[in-house]
Amino acid sequence: MMKVIEGSHAVAHAVMCCRPDVISAYPITPQTHIVEHLSQLVADGKLNTEFLTVDSEFSALSSLVGASVVGARCYSSTTSQGLALMWEVLYNSSGLRLPLVMTVANRALGAPLNIWNDQQDSVGARDSGWIQLYAENVQEAVDMTPQAYKIAEDPDILLPVMVCMDGFILTHVYEPVYLLEQDKVDSYLPPYRPAVVLDTANPKTFGAFVDPSKFTEYRYMQWDAQIRAKQKIVDAALDFQKIFGRYYGGLIDTYHAEDAEIMIVTMGSVIGTIRDCIDSMRAEGIKVGLTKIRSYRPFPAEALQKALKDASVIAVIEKDTTVGNQSALLTDLKAALYNSKLRMPVLGFTAGLGGRDITVTDIRKMVEISSRAKDGVAESDYQFLDLKKELL
């Protein structure tokens, strides 16, 4: 059923269709509409779940650790400072191999305080062991939600998953969205039945402490599960397509990539603007294409090597930076290419921090810079694309 609906409400509806046993969350802009709508669904008797209103994001995720160990399907949502406050539990829950699902309504991290969108929050948590999926639009954020549970709860994977959607841009936008049908979700997503749970009839100890003789192997097992999750993410997308008819790619997706000389690589809602730009630039004869990252963790190195092999120049645009180095996706991508035979210039552009709109003009400027690099004109290989130099 297609409906014009706010992004947060559409995601809340998708969460409801996944039949979570326990939801625990703490309010933070721009995540609030998701949990408010879930609360309303509970109040209206439409969503049968245990809904915890907790004292902090730290308690939100911690309570889900307890619920998940008992065998509950769990959900939370947060952003920015809240995600930062969860930091310790992010590592803990992935180390305990608990298949939690959390929507991250991407927002900048202060200081200075800023409530608007960028992706510094979740990108900063890239090493925490959580699988990270990035949605391009509301429909994809909705459809990623059951996919996230399917991936997380796979007995061969058992890792928590973040569904990242740009704060305000996607959470607060009204768009026509196909809401999930409950019967289809039920046929796509089986109930969660973990093999071992906290149970008085089988009184196991969870979360023993591990000394140097075994810690490396525990970290390796987690690392290996993420690597194996690559195929599961592809499968989850294809299975979803079979039932719902919608598909956004597996680990990555491409647009006008076949003959692209200039290949843009990015993730999140800016892709909508980029698609429009590509359409108009293609009409002008500029051979520009897009590679979209759906899964940032696990990082799709092999898929990117394949997708980028014929490009003359690569332009990575992202809403984060690594203070003291270049931006995150850029450095990850360059690392993935270094031991391949691909040697095209790779340029990095940080843009859209703290809610600044990434405009068509910005994208065109980036393509022009990249085009010059393709022709051998040396450019800085990393820059803040939309920097207002006059303010410095």
Partner: protein, 85 residues
Amino acid sequence: MKLTIGAVVEPGSTMVTKTGAWRTFAPVVDHKKCIKCSLCEIYCPEACIHQVEGLFVPDLDYCKGCGICSHECPRKAITMILEEK
């Protein structure tokens, strides 16, 4: 032994570790003095004093020789003796 996902382990499995090896002094019970109040059993941090055929006996596999049983015995029926090893 293969590692378990999430470091899940079996209940009561510390019993494979015989902490009796830590001991310097060992409790020796004078059963004639014992009034079977069971305070030694109640207070023992190692949970290693039990009634065996009616007598309170420390399990020296686990007894660390802390001396709480000896100190708390109302009849001074337990003496801590330096162990020769």
